[in-house]
C-alpha cells in the first residue's frame, strides 16, 4: 500500500504581532510553509513585508506570537541559531563584505556552515574540498571569472546573485528571499531567474517580490499583506480572482 | 552640611564648565558626524586669549572675554572652512588621526608662542570676592560659572527650538541630503555651528581656568572628560550634555572631597554605568 506522505511543515508562523510604540506593523500574521512550497509575499509598500521577514529571520523580536522552524520553537533564538536550524535569507539591500574577493565570501559561508570559523590555526587555504565547492557554486552562477574580484566591484546584478549564492551555500531547508530582483533592470535578470528556477525541489521558499510576472510564474501560493495584516492567502489563481486583492493591490 | 553644600556648588560649577566646552563637540559630532579631537584646543585658545588680554594687554575682563570668544570662533570657522570640511566623508580613524595631529601642532604652537607655564586670567574685583546669599557666602566666580552655563544652555535650546537657524540645524542633523535639496545652506550651517561650538569651548576654557589650568597640554589633557560628557549625554543632544556634565561633574567633585585616594574611579564607574544603561545618550531611548 502506498502511503502519501504529506511534506513536513518546515516553517510555522503563529499569530505574529509587532508594534513599534504606537505603530502596529504586524497584525496577527499566521501561515505555514511546507517542503517544496514556493510562497510569494506581496503587498503595497509599507505593508510590513520586510519587517515580517526580519522577525522570521531573527533580526527583530516580535511583540507577540511564535515562530516554529522544523518543529522547534525559535521565537527566542538568535539569528545564528536559526541559521543553524536550517533557515537562510537574502537582503533587499545587498549585504556583502565589500572588500572580500567573491570566492572568499562564498568560502566564508561554507566555513560557517561546517562550523569551522572557531578554528584558529589551520589556514583558510587548507580546506581544498570547501574551496572546490566554493568554485562550483561560483561556476553554477556564472561568476567563476570574478572569483578574485572584490564584491563591491561587481555589477549590481551579480551582487544580487552572490546574495542568493550565499544563502544557498548554507544548504537551508527554508529560504527567505527579500526582493531578489530589487534594482535589477528587466534585461539583466536572466541569471537570477534561472537561479530561482534551479532552486532545490524540497526547499521551502518565501519570496517577497513586486514583479507580478515573476510572482505568478514562480509561486505555488501567494500571501497578500496589507497594513501588516494578511489580506488573502491562496493559490495564484484564487488570488488573481479575489476582489479584495484586486481592489487593494492589483488594480482591478 | 558645609561639605555637602561645597560639593554641590563646586560640582555644579565644574559640570557647567564641562557642559559649555562639550556642547560644541556634541553638536559637531551629531551634525557632521565628524570626530574632532582637536576640540580641546579651542577651549585652550579661548583661555589663552583671555589670559593674554587681561594680563599683558591689561584689558578689562568684561571686554577681553567677548574678544577672546570671538577670536576662537574665527579660528574655528577658518579651520572648518579651509581644512576640516574636506574630512567629512572620511573614515572615522582618519578623522581621529588628523585632529590628533592638529592638536599636537596647536600644543606645540602654544608652547612656542607663550611658553609652558600656566596662564592666569586676571579676574576683575567684582568676581574675585564672595557673594553673600544670606545663608551662605559663595565665591563670585562660581556664581558666574553656574550662571553662564545656564545661560548657554538656555540660549542653545532657544536657538535650536525657535530660530530659523535652529530649524536648519535640526533638519541638517536629521537628514542632510533632504535638507540640502530643500535649499537649506548646509555648508553655512556646518561652518556656523562649528564656529559656535568652538566659541563656546573657548568660553568654557575661560570659565574653567581655575579648575583646569591653562597650559599647552590642555588641548589633550581634558579631552577625555569632554568626550565622556558627549558620549553619556548623547551625540547631538544639548540637554543630554547638560545633564551628563552636571551629574558627572558633581560625582567627580564629591569623590575629590570625600575619597581622594581613589582618583577618578567613581567618575568612570558612573560613566560606564550610565553609558551601559543608555548607550545612545541619557535622554534618548
Amino acid at each position: 500500500m502506498s502511503t502519501v506522505t504529506t511534506p513536513e511543515t518546515l516553517l510555522d508562523v503563529q499569530a505574529l504581532d509587532k508594534r513599534f510604540g504606537g505603530l502596529h506593523v504586524t497584525r496577527d500574521v499566521s501561515f505555514a510553509l511546507r517542503a517544496g512550497d514556493r510562497l510569494a509575499l506581496i503587498g503595497p509598500n509599507g505593508a510590513g513585508k520586510t519587517t515580517l521577514v526580519n522577525q522570521i529571520s531573527g533580526v527583530l523580536a516580535p511583540s507577540a506570537g511564535e515562530i516554529w522552524l522544523r518543529g522547534e520553537n525559535v521565537t527566542r533564538t538568535s539569528q545564528a541559531g536559526r541559521v543553524r536550524a536550517g533557515l537562510a535569507r537574502t537582503f533587499q539591500i545587498t549585504t556583502l563584505a565589500p572588500h572580500f574577493p567573491v570566492q572568499r565570501q562564498i568560502e566564508l559561508a561554507l566555513f560557517e556552515r561546517e562550523g569551522l570559523t572557531g578554528r584558529l590555526w589551520r589556514g583558510m587555504d587548507g580546506y581544498p574540498a570547501l574551496q572546490a565547492e566554493a568554485q562550483d557554486i561560483l561556476a553554477r552562477f556564472g561568476l567563476l571569472a570574478h572569483a578574485a574580484t572584490p564584491t563591491q566591484d561587481l555589477a549590481y546584478g551579480e551582487q544580487r546573485l552572490i546574495e542568493m549564492a550565499l544563502a544557498l551555500a548554507l544548504r537551508p531547508k527554508v529560504l527567505l528571499l527579500d526582493e531578489p530582483m530589487a534594482g535589477v533592470p528587466k534585461g539583466d535578470g536572466a541569471r537570477l531567474l534561472a537561479a530561482l528556477d534551479a532552486l532545490p525541489r524540497d526547499l521551502a521558499v518565501l519570496i517577497i517580490e513586486h514583479d507580478m510576472d515573476l510572482v505568478f510564474r514562480f509561486a505555488t501560493r501567494i500571501v497578500v499583506l496589507a497594513e501588516g495584516a494578511v489580506l488573502a492567502d491562496g493559490s495564484p489563481d484564487a488570488i488573481r480572482r479575489d476582489p479584495l486583492v484586486r481592489a487593494a493591490y492589483l488594480g482591478g | 552640611m558645609n561639605t555637602l553644600f561645597n560639593i554641590l556648588i563646586d560640582g555644579l560649577a565644574y559640570g557647567m564648565v564641562l557642559f559649555v566646552i562639550a556642547v560644541g563637540l556634541s553638536v559637531t559630532l551629531g551634525l557632521m558626524r565628524f570626530v574632532n579631537l582637536s576640540h580641546g584646543a579651542f577651549a585652550m585658545v579661548g583661555g589663552y586669549c583671555a589670559a593674554w588680554l587681561t594680563r599683558e594687554a591689561l584689558w578689562s575682563f568684561w571686554l577681553a572675554v567677548p574678544l577672546a570668544i570671538a577670536a576662537t570662533a574665527l579660528l574655528g570657522a577658518l579651520l572648518e572652512a579651509l581644512v576640516l570640511r574636506h574630512l567629512y566623508g572620511r573614515k572615522e580613524l582618519d578623522q581621529v588621526l588628523f585632529t590628533i595631529g592638529l592638536s599636537f601642532v596647536l600644543i606645540a604652537a602654544t608652547n612656542a608662542i607663550a611658553g609652558p607655564q600656566v596662564q592666569l586670567i586676571t579676574l576683575p574685583p567684582l568676581l574675585a570676592g564672595s557673594v553673600d546669599l544670606g545663608f551662605r557666602t559663595l565665591p563670585a566666580q562660581r556664581l558666574l560659572v553656574i550662571g553662564a552655563g545656564l545661560t548657554v544652555a538656555a540660549a542653545a535650546a532657544w536657538t535650536v527650538a525657535r530660530t530659523r537657524f535652529g530649524v536648519w540645524l535640526r533638519a541638517a542633523v536629521d537628514h542632510s541630503g533632504t535638507a540640502s535639496a530643500l535649499g537649506i545652506p548646509i555648508r553655512t550651517v556646518q561652518c556656523a555651528s562649528f564656529a559656535a561650538g568652538a566659541a563656546l569651548a573657548g568660553f568654557g576654557g575661560i570659565l574653567g581656568a581655575e579648575l583646569m589650568p591653562l597650559e599647552p597640554y590642555y588641548a589633550l589633557k581634558y579631552l577625555v572628560l569632554v568626550l565622556v560628557v558627549v558620549a553619556v549625554g548623547g551625540m547631538g543632544s544639548i540637554a543630554g550634555s547638560l545633564v551628563a556634565a552636571v551629574l558627572l561633574g558633581t560625582i567627580e567633585t564629591a569623590s575629590r572631597y570625600l575619597a581622594s585616594g581613589w582618583g577618578s574611579l567613581f567618575f568612570f564607574v558612573a560613566m560606564a554605568a550610565l553609558l551601559a544603561w543608555r548607550p545612545n545618550g541619557l535622554l534618548k531611548r
Binding site: F91, E112, R119, D125, L144 | L97, A108, G263, A272, N280
Partner: protein, 344 residues
C-alpha cells in the same frame, strides 16, 4: 570544468585577506590564496637581527621598538582585523606589566614564567572586560574602553601595597633567561628575548588571521549583518579575538616590565592607548605588518625628535599625522613597491 582563470596582480593593501597571486597555472589552482604565514615573521626576524648587529649601541631603543611592535600588533587584531576601535588597550598592556613585575618581586624571577603570568593577566583582563564591552559598538564601545582602562588605572594607583601606586613598581631583578643568559647591561639578552617573543607571536597572529576564524572576523568587520545571516555567533568570535589580543598585549607588558626592571602607571595611561592607535593608523591597520612599521617609525621619530625639544617634536609628529591622512601610507608603500619591483 573550470573556466580559464584570470591572472591577477597584487592587490593594493586594502584589507584584502588574500593577495591574489598571478597564476598561469593549470585550471585546478585557486584564484585567491594567502601568502605563506611564516614569510613576514621570517623577514621580521632577519630585520630585527640585522638591526641589533648594525646598531649595538642602540639595543635599548631597539628593544623598545620590539615591545611597541608587539603591543601595536595586538591592537591591530582588535582595531584593524575585527574593526573595534579602542582607546583602552593600555589596560591590557599595563596589567601584564604589573603582573609580571609583581610575580618577579614576590614569587619567582624567572623571565619565562613571568612572561606566562603577563600573558595570563592580559588574557584574563580581556576576557572579563570583553564580556561587558563587546555588547556595545562604535562610539559607545570606544568610550567604554576608555572607562574600563581609567578604572583599572585608578585601582592600580589605589593598591599601593602591591603596585607602588604613583611611584611605580621596582626593585625586582630578573633571573637569567632559560637559566643561562643573564640580562646584561648592554641589553643584548633583552633585545634577543624581546625579538624572539615578537617573532613567535607575530607568526601566531599571522596564522590566526589566515584561519577561517580570521576570515570570519574580517567578515564581522566589513559587514556584521551579513555574518549574522550566515550563522556566525558574532559575540563569541569577538570575545575570543579580544582575549587573544589581550594575551599578546599582556606579553608586551611583561617584556616591558622585565627588560626595564620597572613598571609605572604610564603603562596604563590613556596617552599610551592613544599613542598605540596613532602608531597603528600610521603604519596601516589590518595588515599586521603595518602595525610593526608604524611602531618602528613612530618610536624612532619620538626618540630623535624628543631629545631635541619635547614640544617641537609635537610639531613634527602632528604634521606627519595630518599629512598621512591625505597621503595614506598604503599608497606610499604601493608606490615604493612599484618603483622597486618594476611594477607587478
Amino acid at each position: 570544468m573550470n573556466s580559464p582563470l584570470t591572472s591577477t596582480v597584487a592587490a593594493p593593501a586594502a584589507a584584502s585577506v588574500a593577495a591574489p597571486v598571478a597564476t598561469k597555472a593549470p585550471a585546478q589552482r585557486p584564484a585567491v590564496r594567502c601568502a605563506p604565514p611564516w614569510r613576514a615573521p621570517l623577514l621580521l626576524l632577519i630585520a630585527g637581527l640585522a638591526a641589533c648587529a648594525l646598531f649595538p649601541e642602540q639595543l635599548g631603543l631597539i628593544t623598545r621598538i620590539f615591545i611597541a611592535g608587539l603591543f601595536v600588533l595586538s591592537l591591530d587584531l582588535v582595531v584593524g582585523v575585527a574593526g573595534l576601535a579602542t582607546l583602552g588597550h593600555a589596560a591590557l598592556f599595563g596589567l601584564g606589566a604589573y603582573a609580571a613585575g609583581i610575580f618577579a618581586l614576590h614569587v619567582h624571577a624567572d623571565p619565562l614564567l613571568g612572561l606566562g603570568v603577563g600573558i595570563a593577566a592580559g588574557a584574563l583582563t580581556a576576557l572579563v572586560s570583553g564580556a561587558f564591552l563587546l555588547r556595545y559598538q562604535g562610539f559607545t564601545f570606544l568610550m567604554l574602553t576608555v572607562a574600563v582602562s581609567q578604572i583599572v588605572l585608578s585601582l592600580v594607583q589605589k593598591a599601593r601595597d602591591w603596585t607602588g601606586g604613583d611611584d611605580g613598581l621596582s626593585g625586582f631583578a630578573m633571573a637569567p633567561l632559560l637559566g643561562r643568559f643573564e640580562f646584561d647591561l648592554e641589553g643584548r639578552v633583552a633585545a634577543g628575548y624581546a625579538l624572539a617573543v615578537l617573532v613567535l607571536m607575530f607568526y601566531a597572529a599571522q596564522r590566526l588571521v589566515q584561519s577561517p576564524f580570521g576570515l570570519a572576523l574580517r567578515g564581522i568587520h566589513e559587514n556584521r549583518a551579513r555574518m549574522a545571516a550566515l550563522g556566525t555567533p558574532v559575540f563569541r568570535r569577538l570575545w575570543l579575538l579580544y582575549t587573544v589580543a589581550g594575551a599578546l598585549a599582556g606579553a608586551a607588558g611583561a617584556l616591558s616590565a622585565q627588560t626595564n626592571a620597572v613598571v609605572g602607571t604610564d603603562s596604563l595611561s590613556f596617552a599610551l592607548s592613544a599613542e598605540a592607535l596613532v602608531m597603528l593608523i600610521l603604519g596601516g591597520a589590518g595588515q599586521l605588518s603595518g602595525a610593526l612599521v608604524g611602531a618602528t617609525v613612530f618610536t624612532l621619530l619620538h626618540h630623535t625628535a624628543a631629545s631635541i625639544n619635547p614640544y617641537h617634536w609635537l610639531f613634527v609628529v602632528g604634521g606627519l599625522l595630518m599629512l598621512v591622512v591625505f597621503v595614506p601610507p598604503a599608497r606610499v608603500w604601493t608606490w615604493l613597491r612599484q618603483r622597486a619591483g618594476g611594477g607587478r
